[in-house]
Subunit: 79 residues, 2 copies
Amino acid sequence: MARVVVDVMPKPEILDPQGQAALGAAGRLGFTGITEIRQGKHFEIEVDDTVDDATLEKIAEGFLANPVIEQWTIRRVDA
Amino acid sequence: MARVVVDVMPKPEILDPQGQAALGAAGRLGFTGITEIRQGKHFEIEVDDTVDDATLEKIAEGFLANPVIEQWTIRRVDA
């Protein structure tokens, strides 16, 4: 068994209204020094040893992210 | 300037319908060996050097996460 983390973020050129909302909230609540917030998705996946990196890439591209507007990173972490 | 990553996840005892939907999709699409998917939020934040760790904790607890149902990790990464 292994744990895999997939982080999915909007591509840099894509507007990110959720991140902008969080940034606006920071300002209204008096937090200074924050220049940018972007929001994406964080997946924690438990896989067995039959799942290779190519399969993980297919999973991320196929249904965790939307490749048209999102980019992603995949990393294995200690289970 | 520094980049901070905040990952927000539903607490283990909280149902995670988004993760369950992704897990179901994996099965329907023929991916085997995946035993669990949980989905949370991933924030990438740009802050200047005046923002200390205590402030980051307040930001995460205050409006990035819902402390009743979610847990979070904060880490600084290379900008």
